[in-house]
């Protein structure tokens, strides 16, 4: 197979059309895996990505500027209903460029429930394990080594040990981590095995064509078949459109993400929506962060961005994990103003931040295309019945902090003391009924907007990711999850995408 071709914004000088066996829209974990597998099977693939490729020289270590450059809507995208920031990347490699590389297999009980509740037969853990294993080999998934955990992560382990909670080093797609804690702004050590440095180059070696700065604006159809995609070349960061392009293909794979894929279907004339489920059922893993202040310096800037986790409370609805981000992004959560705020900022070197992601599958929303532009309108509400899960998660994090020796804990809950010094003070979290707006939430894992379902009247795709309505239109991103997976989703997205790619390769 001859070497493929990668095109960047400066290289486009006219409108153009490409021909391919398959066009894949989106180069994040789902799309890159599909492109890689189809290329490996010998098919001619065009991978289309709206964002540019980032080189280490393009990374910004400053949190705000990095977000403005790598995330959609400059990192300021929020839901309406219950207001919550939600981040989606726009870059070659998608979210893998700026996530913390956490890899978890979906728990067995979660996949069993998916099968039971959504008429699926082959999505048990044993069905997906071969795909998980293959992905792990490709992107080097392994537990975070102790040498680069840093005190911030190890304190979490100590706290869990003291309380008898299970905990473990987080498995990540990283080779040679140095503990710089810069996962969210781009790994300057080139240790994180994001898609842009692993699967995309592999697809290029296999002959794929990769169009960057190319925004797909519609899927073209003829009868009950997709015949390709069309769109515009867009300038990096400004999104200003220029040349038009079209890709004709025998199969179309949408992997633009849980927010962009339903918008694309809606903008394409409402295709693949006989079930009425496109854009509906939106779920998140809403997250809460808690900061603990220790008596001596933690040096939290050193260590794997997210190196330790506890699955102790998974069946109770939440997972606990450690966290680091550019100091500015963590500091924005600190309470107070004036000299009081400065005092708290001075505590950052003595602090650790841990967070919880919750399985709030009663809290639903929807994604809708706006009349103009391609940014979605995202409506979502935290169901009051899910609020106690988050309150309990905050309590448990406070408990682990105090068990690890923290002198104070900042829970970040409105109507609650800014800083508490004993676990007894945290008991109020269990006694008082919180409103959703009392919590400072973040939701970066989004799911279900093109969910899989065995019944074509209740889902958009089948178990393999093929649209019920259009036989050669496939979806390979977190939108196909029928319900939130309770753990970080990247590895599962990739495992499902690999299964989709192998199924498609058989049919092409």
């Amino acid at each position: 197979m001859s070497e493929g071709d990668l095109r960047v914004f400066a290289g486009y000088d006219r409108d153009f059309t490409e021909e391919a066996d398959a066009v894949v829209v989106g180069s994040g974990p789902g799309g890159a895996i599909v492109a890689g597998e189809l290329t490996r099977a010998g098919y001619r693939v065009v991978l289309v990505e709206e964002g540019p490729p980032f080189t280490p020289g393009d990374y910004e270590v400053d949190g705000g500027l990095s977000m403005a450059r790598t995330l959609r809507e400059g990192g300021l995208r929020t839901t309406v209903g219950t207001v919550m920031p939600t981040m989606q990347a726009v870059a070659l490699g998608g979210g893998s460029l700026v996530n913390s590389a956490i890899c978890n297999r979906a728990p067995e009980f979660v996949l069993d429930r998916w099968c039971e509740d959504f008429d699926l037969s082959d999505t048990h853990l044993s069905d997906l394990d071969p795909h998980y294993d293959a992905v792990a080999e490709t992107i080097g998934i392994s537990p975070t080594p102790e040498a680069v955990q840093g005190r911030r992560n190890l304190l979490f382990r100590d706290g869990c040990d003291a309380l008898g909670f299970s905990s473990e080093p987080i498995a990540r797609n990283v080779r040679g981590c140095r503990g710089s804690g810069e996962c969210f702004t781009g790994c300057r050590s080139r240790a994180k095995q994001s898609m842009d440095i692993t699967t995309v180059p592999a697809a290029l070696r296999g002959g794929a064509t990769v169009l960057t700065s190319a925004r797909v604006e519609a899927v073209e159809t003829s009868g009950d078949r997709a015949i390709g995609v069309m769109g515009r070349i867009v300038a990096p960061f400004t999104g200003r459109p220029s040349h038009r392009f079209r890709v004709r293909a025998r199969a179309v794979v949408l992997a633009a993400g849980c927010m962009a894929t339903p918008v694309l279907l809606q903008k394409s004339g409402g295709i693949a929506n006989r079930s009425g489920q496109v854009g509906r059922n939106l779920q998140f893993h809403p997250g809460v962060g808690v900061m603990g202040i220790f008596p001596d310096r933690v040096e939290p800037q050193f260590g794997a961005t997210q190196g330790y986790q506890s699955r102790e409370f998974l069946e109770a609805g939440f997972k606990l994990e450690t966290l680091w981000a550019p100091p500015a992004l963590l500091a924005v959560r600190l309470p107070g103003s004036g000299l009081d705020l400065k005092r708290r900022l001075a505590d950052v070197p003595y602090s650790a931040v841990w967070d919880a992601i919750a399985s709030c599958d009663r809290s639903l929303g929807r994604v809708e295309a706006r009349r103009s532009g391609f940014d979605p309108k995202i409506t979502w509400r935290l169901n009051p019945d899910d609020t106690p899960i988050l309150a309990e998660a905050v309590y448990r994090l406070a408990e682990i902090f105090f068990a690890a020796g923290a002198r104070s804990v900042l829970c970040g809950v409105h109507g609650f003391p800014d800083e508490i010094h004993t676990l007894e003070e945290a008991e109020i979290l269990r006694r008082r009924t919180l409103r959703p707006s009392d919590l400072v939430l973040g939701g970066n894992h989004a799911f279900c907007t093109t969910r899989m379902h065995g019944d074509p009247t209740r889902g958009v795709v089948d178990e393999l990711g093929r649209c019920h309505d259009l036989e050669n239109l496939w979806i390979a991103d977190s939108g196909v999850f029928p319900r939130c997976p309770s753990v970080n989703p990247m590895w599962t997205i990739m495992a499902l995408a690999r299964r989709t790619a192998l199924a498609l390769a058989e049919r092409l």
């Binding site: 400066a10 140095r178 080139r190 000299l339």
Partner: protein, 234 residues
């Protein structure tokens, strides 16, 4: 035309007077509103990329209230160049986000009309015209409001200012949180991708430039900081 009777004449002139008075009052209110919004702001130092002088003045006032001089981290919000940082951030943002950020600045600057600062009539002045203690009181009220939207406005504005404060190398060095110098290996991807906006022909590497990947040696906490954050970069 029939002459108007005296009573009708009086009613008409009374109405006309009311009309004129209302128009004059609205005109005065409009003039006062325009003056409040547009007049009296100092010219910006430097050349802002996106923000107007009134927005820069609001930001400078908020920054100084959030990060006053002194305390455990010496630089103030002004020293840290928060307004200039937010200007760069707004310039790097897309139109819808710019509008949202501008709305934040406007709400804080003129929110004193609805939520005045202490101090009687002087508490109705725009935020940047208040004295330091009044600014502090206003921000405190937004921060602890029972109304979620007001808290959201405050936390959003504080987030922008905190981003700017932590972008200052002096602040980061003081806290020993500056990013470390890291030798970035050259990998296969670096042979394929040019810098953003550049042509593929500008890629500086060939296969001969490939270096071994990271060996996983933990970074040295006493090692040098990244260029631009070291003291000699000031």
């Amino acid at each position: 035309m029939m002459p108007l009777r005296g009573g009708a004449n009086r009613r008409l002139s009374f109405r006309a007077m009311w009309g004129w008075a209302t128009a004059a009052a609205l005109g005065a209110l409009g003039a006062w509103g325009c003056a409040r919004i547009f007049v009296g702001y100092p010219p910006p130092s430097g050349s802002p990329q996106a923000l107007r002088r009134r927005e820069l003045a609001t930001l400078a006032a908020v920054a100084e209230a959030l990060f006053p001089p002194g305390g455990e981290i010496p630089p103030s919000g002004s020293d840290a160049g928060i307004a200039a940082y937010v200007d760069r951030l707004v310039a790097a943002s897309q139109p819808r986000q710019r509008q949202l950020m501008r709305a934040l600045f406007f709400l804080i600057e003129h929110g004193t009309l609805a939520f005045p600062a202490p101090g009687g009539l002087s508490g109705l002045r725009r935020f940047s015209g208040l004295d330091a203690s009044q600014r502090e009181a206003v921000l405190d009220a937004w921060q602890h409001s029972g109304w979620f939207v007001r808290r959201l406005v405050f936390t959003s504005l504080r987030a922008l200012c905190t981003l700017g404060y932590f972008a200052d190398p002096t602040v980061l060095r003081r806290l020993r949180l500056a990013p470390y110098a890291i030798d970035t290996p050259v990998c296969e991807a670096d042979l394929r991708y040019p810098r953003i906006g550049a042509a593929a022909s500008s890629i500086p590497y060939t296969a001969d430039d490939l270096t071994p990947p990271s060996d996983g040696a933990p970074i040295d906490l006493d090692g040098p900081w990244m260029a631009g954050f070291a003291e000699d970069a000031d």
